[in-house]
């Protein structure tokens, strides 16, 4: 089923996690649909399509449960590639794109290339959601500690300094 109105597009490439929850929450607030996309690149192993269908089915069930009937959920299994190109193309009719930020062994190259490429080329806002189950925590930078004492200028609502 294809979403009709501008929807929030979620690229599903693994277990649906925080990105899906973020997208459903945003869709409920915006009153729009959530569109789940899984991409099977031509030349993938024969089982990729079946695995993709299972991923989408599980993600859709989870999304519908989270949405509570307040945000329609649609799915799409795309046989095309490369992955960033497909997401960028679908983004032309999306309200925003939500991607799961992966980290850890095996994800460094693909996460970096897909997220960077989509964020660079998409015509709509792209939200990259970290996964606390996989992240080892944000990279530390001791230089940041030097900033802790710098001046902060708080201003009341809507008031310019």
């Amino acid at each position: 089923m294809q979403a009709v109105s501008p929807s929030i597009l979620v690229a599903v490439d693994d277990e649906a996690g925080p990105a899906l929850r973020y997208a459903v929450d945003a869709a409920r607030r915006a009153g729009c649909a959530v569109h789940l996309l899984h991409v099977v690149v031509p030349g993938s192993v024969a089982s990729a399509t079946g695995i993709g269908e299972q991923l989408l089915h599980a993600a859709a069930e989870q999304a519908e449960g989270l949405a509570g009937g307040l945000a329609p959920v649609s799915t799409e299994l795309a046989h095309a590639g490369p992955v960033p190109d497909v997401i960028v193309q679908r983004a032309t009719r999306a309200r925003q794109v939500v991607l799961q930020r992966r980290s850890g062994p095996g994800h460094e190259l693909t996460e970096g290339s897909t997220c960077a490429e989509v964020a660079r080329r998409a015509s709509c806002p792209v939200v990259l959601v970290p996964d606390p189950r996989q992240d080892t925590g944000p990279a530390t930078d001791t230089a940041l500690d030097d900033l802790a004492g710098l001046q902060v200028t708080p201003v009341g609502p809507g008031v310019l300094p």
Partner: protein, 154 residues
């Protein structure tokens, strides 16, 4: 009003777009917006932040920040609490620091080489920030920004 959307603003068209989108996102969630503008700390020591000392660089950053916010608020029908922060730091450092423990970080982008998106401002924020990071393109159409604002409580 517990959530905070942090947005990086340097006065560019891209950053004003990002600010407008941040205001819309905050309005939807009844959160507040923290506008962060960094001015460089890589110059000579006399441009560093010194209490009581006037700095042209800091003043330029303050004016650019104020202009950007004025421009964004003029097109924002919803009332969103806004606070403003000036940091004497590299932009990515300031944003990573300010985004710690917050709910959403928003940065603008004008495209550019993919390598810049990996290692530049958006890329570094994406890797180092532990909250969702929204990258807003400069040419995002108004409908995608203003529609949620139209529904937000004024």
């Amino acid at each position: 009003m517990s959530g905070v959307v942090v947005v990086g603003v340097n006065g560019s068209t891209e950053s004003v777009r990002a600010l407008r989108w941040a205001l819309a996102a905050a309005a939807e969630r009844h959160w507040r917006v923290e506008v962060v503008t960094a001015w460089p700390h890589t110059g000579p020591v006399f441009v560093r932040e010194v209490p009581g000392h006037h700095s042209d660089a800091r003043e330029r950053a303050r004016v650019a920040q104020a202009d950007a916010l004025r421009c964004a608020l003029a097109e924002t029908p919803a009332a969103v609490p806004v606070s403003m922060v000036l940091e004497n730091a590299r932009p990515e450092d300031a944003l990573v620091l300010r985004a710690r423990g917050k709910q959403l970080l928003v940065v603008g982008t004008s495209g550019g080489p993919v390598e810049e998106h990996r290692t530049g401002l958006a890329g570094r924020c994406r890797v180092q920030v532990d909250c969702p990071v929204a990258v807003v393109p400069a040419d995002v159409d108004d409908a995608r920004i203003l529609e949620p604002l139209a529904r937000a409580p004024g």
